[in-house]
């Protein structure tokens, strides 16, 4: 079906500095991610397909052929804050305003520790804020996102194999007709529930706060951003 469970977590990294791009690329590769780097916010939007709209005549689009009809599947965007032209914050806003891509987590990086800047980005929907230089340990915070994508792919594959589905989505919220043992039924039900959860997340206009609380069971209190070692003294 094209949605291979072994497809890697794909990160789009945006930074105007060649040096920083090299660094973030290596960091991400070392964390087993597939990486695409671009040097500006506008190129990032082009890559996502936001600028010109999705071009089905593009040979590249045909070759990736993802189920969700995006030109290219991007699982996370990581961007520098300070860039000429479109800043990382502008890019964040554009992504969150787009219906097609608002669910892609966005991480902001900056060499400057400015609490007001950090809060602004998180409020706008950034998933994380990393202080440069970014380290391998920082990227571990992205693991939950990677696992979620991996699990989602695996579950969709399993659903396709075992129940009656169309386009990779269960057609009804009912127990599938399985004449196997109880053991199999028990396996199927949790998958369905989780899949529904994933679907609900994508279909509702819930904020990042809500989504996070559903997934991770943490408080929706945005006033406590999740990053380390940053003094938030005002």
């Amino acid at each position: 079906m094209g949605m291979a469970a072994e497809s890697q977590f794909h990160v789009l990294a945006v930074d105007d500095s060649l040096f920083d791009r090299k660094l973030i690329e290596r960091l991400l590769q070392k964390s087993s991610c597939q990486v695409t780097t671009v040097d500006s916010g506008s190129k990032a939007l082009e890559f996502l397909g936001l600028r010109q709209g999705i071009d089905s005549n593009d040979p590249n689009a045909l070759s990736t052929a993802p189920v969700n009809h995006q030109v290219v599947e991007v699982n996370l965007i990581i961007t520098d804050y300070c860039m000429p032209g479109m800043t990382g914050y502008d890019l964040l806003k554009k992504v969150k305003e787009s219906s097609a891509f608002r669910d892609i987590p966005v991480v902001i990086m900056s060499s400057e520790n400015v609490p007001a800047r950090i809060s602004r980005c998180l409020e706008e929907g950034a998933e994380e804020f990393f202080l440069k230089p970014v380290r391998l340990a920082d990227l571990n915070k992205l693991k939950p996102h990677m696992m979620k994508t991996k699990l989602k792919n695996q579950k969709l594959e399993e659903i396709e194999k075992t129940s009656n589905v169309e386009n990779g989505v269960p057609t009804a919220v009912v127990e599938p007709e399985i004449k196997d043992s109880t053991k199999v039924e028990i396996e199927i039900l949790p998958l369905q529930q989780d899949l529904l959860l994933v679907q609900q997340e994508e279909q509702t206009s819930s904020t990042n706060n809500k989504r996070k609380s559903v997934e991770e069971g943490i408080s929706t209190d945005r006033a406590r951003p999740r990053f380390d070692g940053i003094a938030t003294a005002v």
């Binding site: 500095s17 040096f19 090299k22 660094l23 290596r26 300070c82 440069k132 230089p133």
Partner: protein, 157 residues
């Protein structure tokens, strides 16, 4: 493989890199960079380091131009250059260069041309010094590899 030669070279390498940390040329970020290098990317650190030195050279030239005319110093451009240099020196672990950049920024902020000139000179000196030191380090690495040995992982406590 002559194990004695390899052991000697490895010892030399270890001592040298530790001294660079102790003398403040390098900080922990450099060891983070070394962690990112592996058999698949054996030149990562040297690539990144030489990219940094290239950046230094270009930025120093630009900033020098900005500072040329006493009556017409483009402090905005200067600030941008220092910001970049501070960022990349920080990312590479070039501790002394980074520290000069901190002072440099302060001089920019108060538009102190004399101070900026001094800092520029110091940045130039520090990056060239570091370049020499790291070239020696990479040289030692090559010698170890050529002698059939492996480059030691060095833990900086």
């Amino acid at each position: 493989m002559n194990t004695t030669v390899v052991a000697q070279l490895q010892r030399q390498f270890q001592d040298y890199i530790v001294s660079l940390y102790q003398q403040g040329f390098l900080d922990n970020q450099f060891s983070e960079l070394r962690k990112l290098q592996d058999e698949g990317t054996p030149d990562f650190v040297s690539e990144v380091v030489f990219l940094f030195f290239d950046d230094c050279s270009k930025l120093i030239n630009t900033m020098s131009t900005s500072l040329e005319q006493p009556d017409n110093v483009d402090f905005k451009q200067l600030d941008s250059g220092v910001h970049q240099l501070k960022g990349s020196s920080s990312s590479v672990g070039a501790k002394r260069v980074k520290n000069v950049c901190i002072s440099f920024k302060e001089c920019c902020d108060v538009q102190n041309r004399e101070g900026c000139l001094r800092c520029l000179q110091q940045v130039d000196y520090e990056y060239k010094m570091l370049k020499t030191k790291l070239q020696e380090l990479f040289n030692l690495e090559q010698q170890i590899l050529q002698a059939g040995g492996t480059i030691p992982q060095v833990d900086i406590s």
